[in-house]
């Protein structure tokens, strides 16, 4: 990106997202560069979480920002720029997942038996503040590994709802699923992650019981 600096008083407030988008729309590449630096980490994390592949995540990161820049004119400004960017990145992620021949478990359209009861096996209270017992890097590894163990259909829904904090409706629209399907998959994703994390974070000495 050009090395042109964003006009800003030292120590002054950062420009709003909307102001940066407006300037980027008028061809101000420094403003677009500021948007990139605000969101690149989150977009990369999301793409990596969904695809579970570093190379794909990097391609998605690049393609998403390129597409966003090239289509800024069609961005209506009714939603937040970040939400729009996430949608682009999710579509790129899903496309790559579907293309990847080696991954035969990928079908976001796969019919999930929604009537099937969720299974809960691990019942134990957690240690207080487990996040204090691990370094941030260790925690990230634990959380990433747990997400990696989910089926892609559950991963995508959980990442959008609980990591990106999109609404159920936005998640449904982004993934092309019904609201009911998002809710059903989210419940299963949350319970599966809870199960995996409980094995790590449970308070020592607590009994593990079978359930449901």
């Amino acid at each position: 990106m050009p090395s042109q600096e964003i006009d800003r008083e030292p120590g002054g407030p950062s420009p709003t997202e909307a102001a940066l988008v407006e300037r980027a729309r008028q061809g101000d590449l420094a403003a677009f560069s500021e948007l990139v630096s605000r969101y690149e980490r989150k977009i990369y994390r999301m793409a990596r979480n969904i695809t579970q592949n570093d190379e794909d995540a990097e391609d998605i990161l690049q393609d998403s920002f390129l597409k966003a820049f090239q289509h800024l004119d069609s961005f209506q400004g009714q939603s937040k720029f970040y939400t729009w960017l996430v949608r682009i990145a999710v579509n790129e992620s899903l496309m790559r997942l579907r293309k990847r021949k080696s991954d035969r478990t990928v079908s976001l359209d796969e019919n999930i038996e929604t009537d099937e009861e969720p299974i809960v096996r691990e019942i134990a209270v957690w240690d207080d503040n487990p996040e204090l017992r691990y370094t941030q890097a260790e925690m990230r590894e634990i959380l990433d590994k747990a997400i990696a163990g989910l089926k892609p259909i559950f991963r995508a829904v959980f990442v959008l709802r609980d990591v990106e904090e999109m609404s159920t409706e936005e998640t449904a629209e982004t993934l092309g699923l019904s609201v009911a399907a998002v809710k059903s998959r989210l419940l299963r994703a949350r319970l599966q992650l809870r199960e995996k994390l409980t094995r790590i974070f449970k308070r020592k000495g607590d009994q593990i019981l079978g359930y449901v």
Partner: protein, 82 residues
Amino acid sequence: MVTCKDFLRELSDFLDENVDPAVREDLERHISECPNCWVICDTTKKTIQVYKGMDPEPLPEKVHDRLVQILEQRCGKHESSQ
């Protein structure tokens, strides 16, 4: 009367505060009487919190550099073609 299976089915909506007040009351009564469901509810809530609270890690330097490079090349061209 809410059973454990009923509670599990409603758990996500319960945690998202997306259930009717009457249903909420029934579910709250159930977890106050069922230790297993209380634990499941508490640990599911903590699962969500722990993911929400995790900042994304810094982008690997090379990934950032390649992104900047490709945007410089492609967006610069885009601008000059207008």
